[in-house]
Amino acid sequence: MSIGANEEFRPKIVAFCCNWCSYAGADLAGSSRLAYPADVKIIRVPCSCRVNPMFILRAFERGADGVILCGCHPGDCHYSTGNFYARRRMTMLFSMLDYIGVENGRTRVEWVSAAEGAKFSATMNDFVAKVTSLGKNVRLGDLRCKN
């Protein structure tokens, strides 16, 4: 699918945020009026370790152009160890996606604390810019397309 020259490409971005740090960080970005593109839609999960790689693949399959996972900083997890597991799982998943030829700029993990509204906003701005520059995601939606 090609994008018309004068039609601006707006990516679909799914952001998984842990309830205790990153979702609160997003709230702080909001109450501090620190803007980031409307392309980002947040899904609240209790902890970054709740995010099943299936969810990320599902998002890509349904047409997402980028998926970002935000959690508490390592060592600060509300559940003590959740983000440590998430970190290993996502490292493995991202490496695999990269391996099968999916642009690695479409996936990201960022640690954002409840006090880091500014970091949340900056991260989202940066991620949206990166995904926008990669353009529409065709590879993940199309891995086994028979046409």
């Binding site: 790689p53 299936m54 693949l57 599902r58 399959e61 349904r62 390592p74 060592g75 160890t81 440590f84 597991y85 970190r87 290993r88 799982r89 996502m90 490292t91 493995m92 998943l93 991202f94 490496s95 695999m96 996606l97 990269d98 391996y99 099968i100 030829g101 999916v102 642009e103 690695n104 700029g105 996936t107 990201r108 993990v109 590879r139 993940l140 939606g141 199309d142 891995l143 086994r144 397309c145 028979k146």
Partner: protein, 323 residues
């Protein structure tokens, strides 16, 4: 082979085991099937040769539910799987009498066919103590090829001929490793993202979702597979464009990551010849690089890499930095 049969007879007779898990002849001479034997009479059908490549560990899940002990013949590489299954409480060590069988590599009929040999009726010289050259009886007369040239791909990158678990060992092993295990993965890694994408798209396009890989895999031993459950909306198989069709192999590899012993059964059974081990081995390679050398099934104690962590683990951004 006779040694194995004698051992089976002996253990059945003295009541150590009540059944034997081994092989019997299949439809084709080079296609033996795993089978249970319960009497000395049954054992007349027992066969064992170079084509007995199947990993019998997974059959022990069902055998563990039965009364009495089962004698099982395991190659060195099968024992990793057996250990992993013990660790996951899927097999009962007490219900198994393990005879470790020596190994000089297992054969792949396709490797013989690839050498231009057609009309194969039978292959001779495949026994453990057989010669280095195979004699192939064909409709067009006898042909020969070297044993090594007919080996399964996995045997060329063999993890070693030591049994990780066994009650006793029968037969001598011969080293078959003549290639590096991760070379194939490295070759893919060296491609550009476009080439990698095209490569995997071409591979996966061949998939007919027969589920043979899943059914044979000792790590894929779930009572109910997520792909058959409605918990992820992934159960509907009809729609070829659905999520699982595309992601099946990636998810399957992720599910067994850290648990896969690299037994190579998935690639062996794939009717379409998809190089499925490339997924599993990629995870193994990453795990070794990021979290230290780890061999699933080497013991029954160590914590799996994905159920473990250290404070200083690499960040997922390593994927990007590594480039």
């Amino acid at each position: 082979m006779q040694e194995l049969i004698n051992k089976a007879k002996e253990l059945l007779a003295n009541g150590t085991v009540v059944r034997v898990l081994g092989w019997r002849a299949g439809d084709l001479s080079y296609n033996p099937e795993p089978a249970f034997f319960e009497t000395e009479e049954d054992l007349q059908k027992f066969v064992y040769d170079g084509f007995c490549g199947a990993n019998l560990s997974k059959y022990m899940i069902e055998a563990s539910k039965l009364d009495g002990k089962t004698l099982v013949f395991l190659k060195p590489c099968d024992t990793y799987s057996f250990n992993q299954l013990i660790k996951e409480h899927r097999v009962d060590r007490e219900k198994a009498y393990i005879v470790g069988v020596g190994c000089r590599g297992k054969l792949d009929i396709d490797k013989i066919k690839e050498q231009g040999i057609k009309g194969i009726e039978s292959v001779e010289g495949t026994e453990l103590d057989g010669p280095d050259t195979l004699t192939i009886k064909t409709l067009y007369g006898d042909k020969t090829c070297s044993y090594a040239s007919a080996m399964l791909g996995r045997c060329h990158v063999c993890k070693g001929k030591e049994h990780m678990i066994a009650d006793e060992i029968i037969g001598e092993s011969k080293d078959t490793k003549d290639a590096e295990r991760f070379d194939a993965v490295k070759a893919v890694e060296a491609m550009s993202p476009e080439e990698r994408f095209n490569f995997f798209q071409k591979e996966l396009r061949k998939c007919i979702r027969c589920n043979a890989c899943r059914n044979v895999c000792p790590a894929c031993s779930c009572r109910k597979c997520v792909f058959d459950s409605n918990k992820f909306d992934s159960a509907q198989k009809a729609n070829v464009d659905s999520f699982e069709e595309k992601m099946f192999h990636v998810i399957r590899a992720f599910h067994v990551a850290g648990r896969c012993t690299d037994c190579g059964e998935c690639s062996r059974v794939c009717p379409q010849g998809i190089q499925l081990h490339l997924f599993n081995r990629k995870f193994i390679k990453d795990i070794n690089e990021y979290y230290g050398e780890f061999q699933a099934g080497a013991d029954i104690e160590a914590r799996g890499p994905l159920t473990n962590y250290t404070f200083d683990d690499v960040e997922p951004s390593i994927v990007k930095e590594r480039g």
